[in-house]
């Protein structure tokens, strides 16, 4: 008998079908990963297993946990089961904990809810033990800490402590590291793996990250649009995948583009000794406010036609540097010039320079006004021009921009909600291209996209490099993307640039220890064509 056996599970919410005929099984001590793109139903499969489905959900089929069909249990029996036999870890550690309760109280609650006879003190002792087990020893992380006093990775450890406190048979982890930095991600994945092994738990991992899947899972389940398209033992599936969707998914994850040759160097952007301080709230009422140095004495050049990458973990100062380059904020010292002209003069951005730079942001949903049509959205940068094109010239510019990014001129009259995430990001690129900027900043521009869409956008960028000789600064935490889409890369840590060199050289032989850590922590996808024995070691 399997630990968990889902058979012919179908799920609809009101009339919409979410899952169709899903079957999979997990044995004791086994790590199974469900993977797929957004909308594939992987998270819903996890929630169905917890029987924590949204209102209006209707399921058919069976979810057997150690011989009990969870779909047939009443709410009281399910409450006894959740947290006790099945534990769950969620994607967003920043919001998964109650901000008003201490971590000790929250972990102790997970223990006491299933054992009310246990005294408060005894529950807290056990909570402390569990927290130590997940890497939060009591001498550094006393039970009295509140969630806001911990980092994202530490909070995720608390969530894991709550999930494993009762030694459940099955642990479900829904995108447990998606919101974390690469080095933290590696630690959390190792922790999950260790705990599963020590307790003999079954671990059901939900993740979109195929590199994580390939590295961790004993078996892989690939889902698309609510159906399982392929599943099998990891090594076998990686070498003998049969379904075209699985192949496409793995190919898209490791997608490589070939950039055209960069033109001969000619300085475009010059950043010299830039320092950016943010004021901290005053510690005492009349004392001087403190400062946080987000960018510390950073210097670099970007040549015309160069594709420059900027990588680093959250809080390293990437965004502060981006805002400074765009002239959105004043720097405390140093100069930033584009073609020799400063981006910021006196107290405001220099419009003459500003109109030569455009930016594409991460969120394809949030970066557009939903009440404007596409033609108005993508012509917004025209406001920067002294005499913006009008009439036929404007229409021609819109058509050109839309064709360049792979949409049709007829799309100009549509609203943004009529497009998919990938199409929206194309429109964001059209908005950046329309005034033919000399420099484009891509701020995590492909991070929110599914792998197949991401591959298409990367192809589009490579094509645009060919057609427009783009110069860009590509800011990302995703090393594999930066590796293929840039010529040169900067590595940033704690406000400073610690490494700067041609992309391939940096990845092949990193010089700074931090760069080495980053590259080691990032899970790389083993090459699909290779025999598994040659795949990357760990």
């Amino acid at each position: 008998m399997s630990l968990l056996e889902i058979s012919n599970l179908s799920l609809s919410i009101y009339e919409t079908e979410i899952l169709h005929d899903v079957s999979l099984a997990i044995e004791t001590g086994e790590i199974v990963a469900i993977t797929g793109e957004s909308g594939s139903g992987k998270s819903m499969t996890a929630l169905a297993t917890m029987q924590l489905l949204p209102k209006g959900a209707h399921t058919t089929g069976q979810i057997m946990l150690r011989g009990k069909d969870l779909t047939q249990l009443d709410e009281a029996a399910l409450c006894k089961l959740r947290g006790n036999e099945v534990g769950m870890v969620f994607q967003e550690p920043m919001t998964a904990l109650n901000p008003l309760h201490t971590i000790g109280r929250q972990v102790a609650e997970a223990i006491r809810i299933h054992n009310p006879a246990l005294g408060r003190v005894e529950a807290e002792t056990r909570a402390a033990k569990t927290l130590t087990r997940v890497g939060l020893p009591g001498d550094q992380f006393p039970l009295s800490r509140f969630p806001h006093e911990l980092s994202g990775g530490q909070r995720q450890r608390v969530v894991i402590a709550m999930a494993i406190a009762r030694h459940p048979r099955l642990l479900i982890a829904d995108e447990p590291t998606t919101a974390l930095d690469v080095t933290t991600q590696a630690q959390i994945l190792d922790l999950l793996k260790t705990l599963a092994k020590e307790d003999g738990m079954g671990l059901l991992m939900i993740t979109h990250d195929l590199a994580v899947v390939a590295d961790m899972a004993d078996r892989i389940v690939v889902m698309r649009q609510g159906e399982v398209v392929e599943q099998g033992e990891t090594k076998h599936l990686l070498t003998h995948m049969t379904h075209p969707y699985t192949k496409m998914l793995f190919e898209a994850s490791a997608h490589q583009v070939s950039l055209p040759e960069a033109p001969s160097p000619q300085p475009l952007l010059n950043v010299e000794n830039v320092t950016r301080d943010y004021k901290l709230p005053r510690k005492t009422l009349f004392g001087a406010p403190g400062h946080f140095r987000a960018v510390n004495n950073v210097s670099f050049d970007l040549q015309r036609g160069e594709r420059l990458g900027l990588v680093g973990e959250s809080g390293c100062g990437k965004s502060a540097l981006t805002r400074a380059i765009l002239g959105l904020e004043q720097v405390q010292s140093g100069t930033i010039t584009l073609n020799g002209a400063p981006v910021f003069t006196d107290t405001k951005p220099n419009l003459n320079v500003r109109r030569k730079m455009q930016v594409v942001f991460q969120d394809p949903y949030g970066s557009f006004n939903p009440r404007h049509r596409v033609d108005r959205l993508i012509t917004e940068p025209f406001y920067l021009l002294p005499d913006p094109p009008a009439g036929a010239a404007r229409a021609k510019a819109i058509d050109e921009a839309l064709i360049a990014i792979g949409l049709s001129p007829a799309d100009a009259q549509k609203y943004i909600h009529e497009f998919s995430g990938g199409q929206r990001q194309r429109i964001a690129i059209a908005r950046a291209l329309i005034i033919k900027p000399e420099l484009i900043l891509f701020d995590e521009a492909v991070s929110a996209l599914d792998v197949s869409v991401r591959a298409q956008i990367l192809d589009l960028l490579a094509d645009l490099c060919e057609a427009y000789a783009l110069s860009y600064l590509f800011i990302s935490h995703d090393l594999s993307v930066v590796r293929t889409i840039t010529d040169r890369v900067l590595v940033m840590k704690s406000g400073e640039i610690v490494e700067d060199g041609p992309t391939e050289d940096v990845f092949q032989s990193p010089r700074h220890p931090y760069t080495r850590d980053l590259i080691a922590a990032a899970r790389m996808l083993p090459s699909v064509e290779q025999e598994h024995a040659h795949a990357h070691p760990g």
């Binding site: 924590l52 409450c79 969620f90 008003l100 009422l285």
Partner: protein, 315 residues
């Protein structure tokens, strides 16, 4: 926490100082001579001079401000021109009606609003929620003087459970006083409760959608346990804000209800003093109300910090 409290206290003192300066200069200095304003255009020069001396108008503005603030601090609010008695006594008398009435109404409003809001939120979209929200809509829409008159009609005239108006005073005992204030307190409380219940419901619904509520369910808590243990306290911040605002309103804004029930409260005092151009009383009552608003805000700030540990760090 102590540090936070001290900082809030300092800001309270600063606010009060600024408020007293504004009130003093707006009422006393700006519109010409208060003495002639109080006595009207037909006043005798001697009376005018006497009043000016009594009010201390012959002193400089700075001296007068200091004398006024010094008086306020030592409990001497000056003498009312119309009543010819110390303002402090008049206000104290009225405050003995208005303050208990405000607290009574606030307690009722909270007692009604919390269960109503929680009930509606926990049954979102179902009949109980829709019924409750309809009732609160009605509570907000019905004018409180009409509602007060209905209360008088039913409970005082028909059922004779309560007096139709007036206040017996506290000399006859606490319960007799409370009994006399019940109808006005209910009339004041219901519209406030309707607003508060709506705030409670929407705040709780926001919290119920949070990730940590799902975490609580995944731990094995039932929906009800999750709501009481993790939802309620997180939903309190907006509710506390509204309670703070409501208290300030109830203390002085109850003039219509005081009129309907013929209660000698602060609202009527302000109204009468303004009609009688008794600026000393107006000034003192306004200062008192400002004081109460600032103190209530201070208490609400402390309550925020008691509820939310993240605020204790904030400066």
């Amino acid at each position: 926490m102590l540090r936070y409290a001290l900082k809030r206290l300092l800001s309270l003192v600063i606010s009060l100082t600024v408020a007293s300066l504004v009130i003093f200069f707006v009422i006393e200095v700006a519109p010409g001579d208060p003495a002639s304003f109080m006595l009207g255009i037909n006043a005798q020069p001697e009376t005018l001079a006497a009043l000016r001396a009594e009010l201390g108008l012959d002193l400089s503005k700075g001296q007068r401000y200091l004398a006024w603030v010094g008086g306020l601090l030592s409990g001497d609010f000056g003498t009312s021109y119309t009543y010819r008695t110390p303002v402090a006594d008049i206000i104290a008398q009225r405050l003995w009606v208005s303050l208990p009435l405000a607290l009574y109404a606030l307690a009722l409003s909270t007692l009604i609003a919390f269960p109503a809001g929680i009930y509606a939120a926990s049954r979102r979209g179902r009949a109980g929620d829709i019924g409750m929200m309809g009732a609160t809509q009605l509570g907000v829409a019905v004018p409180n003087f009409w509602f007060a008159m209905m209360l008088v009609l039913i409970f005082a005239i028909n059922l004779r459970w309560f007096a139709a108006g007036g206040f017996v005073g506290w000399d006859r005992g606490f319960w007799a006083g409370l009994h006399a204030l019940t109808l006005p307190a209910v009339a004041l409380a219901l519209p406030q409760a309707a607003i508060l219940a709506r705030v409670m419901r929407s705040s709780l619904l926001d919290v119920l959608g949070e990730d940590f509520m799902r975490t609580a369910r995944a731990k094995g808590l039932s929906a009800r346990q999750a709501l009481w243990r993790h939802g309620l306290r997180n939903a309190l911040i907006p509710v506390l804000t509204i309670i703070g605002l409501q208290f300030s309103f109830l203390l002085a804004g109850s003039i219509i209800i005081e009129q309907v029930f013929y209660l000698p409260g602060l609202g009527r005092l302000v109204f009468q003093s303004i009609s009688a151009r008794d600026l000393i009383v107006v000034e003192s009552v306004v200062m008192l109300l400002v004081f109460s608003v600032i103190v209530v805000n201070f208490i609400v700030d402390l309550a925020y910090a008691a509820v939310d540990p993240r605020l204790r760090l904030r400066t």
